[in-house]
């Protein structure tokens, strides 16, 4: 068995733009552009970036909830892009996803028992009546909800509790890999910490592997062993999370970290204020996509997209003029 649970090779996802009266394709958005990375068993890879950078598209492409345009997703040694829909359904038992909005991702007309049963029905797991009940109690116990939850409806729960239910539903089929797509961004600060702790505990107990997508760098840094940064569909830097803060080589990563308001009053030195907005992914700048906002940009940056530079075995970035440490 390989050390890596998931291996992604040059994955791309293009969304066509249709226009004109004939509805012809007039352009394309490269939401995810030639992204490659690996996730070890039992590891959490954090994925950060601003809105529109393609992090959610990437997460969904891994599960083929969106069909990738190009590239390979190798899960447990098998390229899942080649699987037909029956085999893929089988495979999804091992890969689950938790969504951002716990208010929108639970069917309001189903009881929690029904919600938790559905994935097990689909995958024909725990089919005996007693066995099923035992399993559901076990799940509720794992996410720290009381037993009487089963007969209630989603509206009876708060945001944090709903997110626990979503987590229990993802765990129902005993997955190995979970894509957590902004699982705590919709929650209040005090509840956010509870859910982060729960996810970390479950990982330890069940040996789960996570792809943790979020725009909150503090949470990502906390929960992940490695962090990948995306900008306009490209993965621009990957490093150990302890290395990335303070040791970022890509100017964008550095600016992103410096922009986070710190809960310590007083003047903040070293804040890098980026100018302008994120360019439209329909019409990205030539060369390095970040050059119009970068203070280190040279002529080279306007012409060619930088290749991967491997600083160490775990730290890679794409930049012509990296920050010197």
């Amino acid at each position: 068995m390989s050390e890596y649970l998931l291996e992604v090779n040059s994955l791309s996802k293009k969304f066509p733009i249709k226009g004109g009266i004939l509805g012809r394709e007039v352009g394309a958005v490269n939401a995810v552009n030639n992204v490659s990375f690996k996730i070890k068993r039992g590891e959490t890879l954090g994925l950060v970036g601003e809105s529109g950078c393609g992090k959610t598209t990437l997460g969904r492409s891994l599960l083929r909830l969106l069909e990738p345009t190009n590239g390979e997703v190798i899960f447990n040694g098998q390229n899942i892009i080649d699987l037909n829909s029956n085999d893929m359904r089988e495979m999804r038992r091992k890969m689950q996803i938790i969504f951002q909005d716990p208010y929108a991702s639970l069917n309001p007309r189903m009881t929690i028992g029904g919600i938790l049963s559905e994935p097990m029905d689909i995958h024909k797991l725990f089919t005996g009546k007693e066995e099923r009940k035992k399993r559901m109690y076990q799940l509720l116990d794992q996410v720290q909800l009381p037993k009487d939850t089963l007969n209630k409806y989603p509206h009876e729960f708060s945001g944090g509790q709903r997110q626990r239910i979503c987590i229990a539903r993802a765990l129902a089929v005993e997955p190995e890999f979970i894509v957590c797509d902004e699982p705590v961004s919709a929650l209040d600060v005090s509840v956010q910490a509870q859910v982060v702790n729960l996810l970390m505990d479950l990982q330890k107990d069940l040996g789960l592997t996570y792809l943790f997508i979020a725009h909150d760098l503090k949470v990502v840094e906390y929960i992940s062993s490695r962090v990948a940064v995306m900008y306009l569909g490209n993965m621009i830097e990957v490093a150990e999370s302890s290395e990335l803060y303070g040791g970022a080589r890509h100017p964008y990563t550095k600016a992103l970290f410096s922009a986070i308001p710190k809960p310590i009053p007083g003047k903040h030195v070293g804040r890098i204020l980026l100018e302008g907005d994120i360019p439209s992914p329909m019409n990205p700048p030539t060369g390095c996509h970040f050059h119009p906002r970068c203070w280190n940009a040279s002529d080279e940056c306007k012409k060619t997209y930088p290749g991967i530079t491997a600083e160490t075995a775990t730290h890679e970035y794409k930049c012509h003029n990296p920050i010197t440490l």
């Binding site: 601003e50 209040d188 600060v189 005090s190 910490a193 509870q194 725009h215 809960p263």
Partner: protein, 331 residues
């Protein structure tokens, strides 16, 4: 001491619902000073936005109602002003920016039209041409590139950060005394958030308005505010200047909130402990406990907190400006 421009005294706001009446804001007191920023922090449902809306007299009535208290703007009670006259204050002397820059701009008018409207309402001596010039000037002030072109564009042509800049331009058009910012950067990305906060600070230095910054992000509070009020279940539970609040929080809720934010330094050693949390959840406003509202989540709860001898009051601690609503303030 800076000039006091707004004083909120014992504000009570109630809402009638099918399940009975709830008190969303219960006896809130605070002051806003010229050139200073007051932060109001709290989680969803703590009453921070309702407080802001009542200052603007924008509480939908029914079902809402300001049931008590005073809102003194330069000594005059805003709540006594007839609604028609309120317009001379709202948007002119007290302005507000909202969380969602997309939904707070009108999609069928150009950005220029919407800024000009402010001048049309509040500065009637300007003619059409002057208004247009002033709109361009405002866009320039908030750092929008090529304002002559942008002034003719519609909101959908602008990005989220640009739209929030337009909102700020609109709200500052009449050089208000007070700017109420209700989660102004929550919908924005961090790099854009940093730009907007910087802009607000710069404009405050230039124009000297008092700002009420409503947010749930303690990072934003630490960076922008001079004084802070922490709200929980419709009440202020702790008030202090920003430095004191972050260095010596005295209410267990404030302390819990500050601790539950992951910081980069805490992970430096590579070994990651669990995040400190506040157990449980905010009680429903329909079903508040007797005594302290925070009792079911508090680590230091005692019999006294359950309210046999009344509720905790917001009290000053010694000679400091720090006030805490707790029977057992932390030392």
């Amino acid at each position: 001491m800076a000039e006091k421009i707004l004083e909120v005294k014992d504000l009570v706001v109630e809402f009638k619902t099918d399940r009975g009446s709830i008190t969303a804001v219960k006896g809130v007191n605070f002051e806003v000073f010229k050139g200073k920023t007051l932060g109001i922090v709290g989680e969803s449902g703590s009453g921070k936005s309702v407080t802001a809306l009542s200052i603007m007299r924008l509480i939908p009535s029914p079902p809402g109602r300001v049931a008590g208290g005073k809102i003194l703007y330069r000594g005059e009670n805003v709540l006594d002003i007839p609604l028609d006259d309120m317009r001379t204050i709202r948007g002119n002397k007290i302005a507000m920016i909202f969380q969602e820059p997309m939904t707070s701009l009108n999609p069928v008018f150009t950005v220029g039209n919407q800024i000009e409207e402010v001048f049309e309402l509040h500065q009637k001596d300007l003619d059409k041409h002057q208004r247009h010039e002033k709109a361009i000037e405002m866009l320039k002030l908030v750092g929008i590139p090529s304002p002559e072109k942008r002034v003719l564009e519609y909101p959908h042509q602008l990005s989220g950060g640009m739209r929030q800049r337009v909102m700020i331009a609109m709200s500052l058009a009449c050089e208000p005394d007070i700017l109420i910012a209700d989660e102004p950067t929550t919908a924005l990305d961090v790099t854009i958030q940093a730009q907007i906060l910087e802009l607000m600070k710069k404009l405050q230095d230039e124009m000297g308005m008092g700002i009420i910054m409503i947010t749930h992000d303690l990072g934003v509070v630490a960076e922008t505010c001079d004084d802070v009020a922490v709200m929980y279940c419709g009440q202020i539970v702790e008030r202090a200047d920003v430095k004191t609040l972050f260095e010596h929080p005295r209410h267990p809720y404030t302390k819990g909130l500050i601790e539950s934010i992951p910081s980069f330094d805490s992970t430096k050693g590579g070994v990651r402990g669990r995040l400190p949390t506040i157990d449980g959840m905010v009680p429903s406003l329909f079903d508040l406990p007797k005594g302290c509202n925070f009792q079911n989540r508090c680590k230091y709860v005692t019999e006294k907190c359950r309210g046999p001898h009344g509720d905790p009051q917001l009290e000053s601690l010694g000679s400091t400006n720090q006030q805490v609503r707790c029977f057992h303030p932390l030392s």
